[in-house]
């Protein structure tokens, strides 16, 4: 299988890439790692007239912390997130989410910015980034804006990006051992997309009473969904496995839960509370381990 013919551009700078993207509009498509786009082009599900390949643009793949905020260049690969010592100590949930995307070969090429812009509802990052309150720096030839993760995802494969815009940076707040966290997904095999994805962040006071809970699911709707009922059930309660079980039982999926050959909506609704309970327990265990 080979893609349809396309005009190929591999600019050396971000500005050039954005100018080209502005020129081609709907006919142009950015290629980052290409690990989703190229298969779609081979299957002829996508046939962009112009590819603006970002592979020759240096410096957009750094991972740095400044003033408690971690800034990740959009072209950082999943592998570099997975291996990042900074993320492992200051935002480990993101390193873990990166480590179970696709397989090693895909993670060597695929990028966080590409995955975000592609907006597959079953992808790993989206629930994690919403739970983290991440912000995306979005640029076009005209200028720059910052979009909150929660406002970015609009529908299946649809985002707040305009045709001339590119995600250039991802910003998340760093955290330490005071936060209990977990990212997990239920999938048929390790390398598969999630049937249910869960991101959990828990904060507590000195007595392990929950002060803040962020629980976001992926793959159960066109966009990541915050489980507000579960969050409300946790805050103010001592973080125990009984509290996790009680809160997880509140998990409720909406009427846009997808059905496909791997899992119908009823199955996802059945397993989602189990996934939430397990993720909450893992997060609580991490949090209580900090005191030891």
């Amino acid at each position: 299988m080979i893609p349809r013919s396309f005009g190929y551009h591999d600019p050396a700078t971000l500005d050039e890439a954005l100018t080209l993207l502005g020129e081609y509009g709907e006919d142009g498509k950015l290629m980052a790692g290409g690990q989703s786009l190229l298969p779609m082009m081979k299957f002829r599900l996508a046939s962009p007239a112009h590819i603006v390949d970002l592979c020759r643009i240096p410096g957009v793949d750094t991972i740095e912390e400044s003033n408690g905020e971690i800034r990740i260049g959009a072209l950082a690969t999943h592998r570099s997130l997975e291996d990042s010592q900074l993320l492992k100590s200051r935002c480990p949930i993101l390193a873990k989410a990166a480590s179970s995307i696709g397989d090693a070969q895909v993670r060597n090429l695929g990028t966080i910015g590409g995955a975000i812009a592609h907006a597959d509802p079953a992808a790993n990052y989206s629930p994690v980034l919403v739970a983290l309150g991440a912000r995306f720096v979005v640029r076009s030839a005209q200028g720059e804006r910052v979009v909150a993760a929660a406002d970015f995802y609009k529908d299946t494969f649809v985002t707040a990006l305009r045709p001339s815009e590119m995600v250039t940076e991802i910003r998340v707040l760093a955290f330490g051992r005071e936060v209990g966290w977990e990212h997990a997904k239920l999938s048929r095999r390790a390398s598969d997309f999630a049937l249910v994805g869960v991101a959990v962040l828990l904060r507590a006071d000195a007595a392990d009473v929950c002060t803040q809970a962020d629980v976001v699911l992926g793959a159960v709707a066109p966009v990541p969904v915050r489980m507000q009922g579960v969050e409300v059930a946790l805050v103010g309660k001592p973080l125990t496995s009984a509290a996790a079980a009680q809160a997880a039982s509140v998990t409720k999926l909406g009427d846009k839960t997808p059905s496909d050959v791997h899992a119908d909506a009823a199955y996802r609704a059945e397993v989602a509370p189990v996934c939430v309970r397990r993720a909450l327990e893992a997060a609580i265990n991490r949090m209580t381990a900090r005191n030891k």
Binding site: I2, R4, S5, Y8, L38, D103, A104, N108, A190
Partner: protein
């Protein structure tokens, strides 16, 4: 517009003219450079039979545009043996009978190269997880795991002439 691409493949400089941007790296290697050790399996980023090293990192060459290789280094299974001596991974697959039909083998070996470069002493579980991007329909994987363990042990001892 077609491109001229200059690459270093298996240590040798190559200049190929008139490469169509939509040409995939695997076809470039097989059809242009006649390096047919890299196989086309599923052609859809699943099976890993087309795995090669791109600047030392394992990638699925059915999911990389050949034009991207311009200015970069590619290693295929043909580039592993040195001075007529098999690479320890090749020797390991032979020694531990890590193959039956052999179709998936070059991809497994190249993926294992990347795995061992990151983690020279992987556990069985780490090998299984590290090679999740490669499918073998013959062996049930047991001997493939043994082959990688054999290679890891022999690389650790600094031997590379175990044939």
């Amino acid at each position: 517009m077609n491109r001229t691409i200059q690459t270093r493949v298996n240590g040798r400089k190559s200049i190929e003219e008139n490469v169509e941007p939509r040409m995939l790296l695997v076809h470039f290697l097989r059809d242009r450079l006649r390096l047919t050790g890299t196989h086309v399996g599923c052609d859809s980023t699943n099976c890993g039979a087309c795995t090669v090293l791109f600047d030392g990192k394992a990638v699925k060459s059915c999911t990389v545009l050949a034009v991207r290789a311009h200015g970069h280094e590619v290693t295929t299974v043909e580039g592993l043996a040195q001075n007529g001596k098999l690479h320890p991974l090749q020797a390991g697959f032979q020694h531990e009978h890590g193959l039956q039909c052999g179709y998936c083998t070059p991809g497994f070996i190249m993926a294992a190269c990347d795995l061992l470069s990151r983690n020279p002493a992987p556990t069985e579980q780490e090998i299984r997880l590290g090679l999740e991007g490669n499918l073998c329909r013959c062996t049930g994987y047991h001997n493939i795991i043994k082959a990688v363990q054999w290679a890891a042990a022999n690389l650790a001892e600094g031997k590379s002439d175990h044939v």
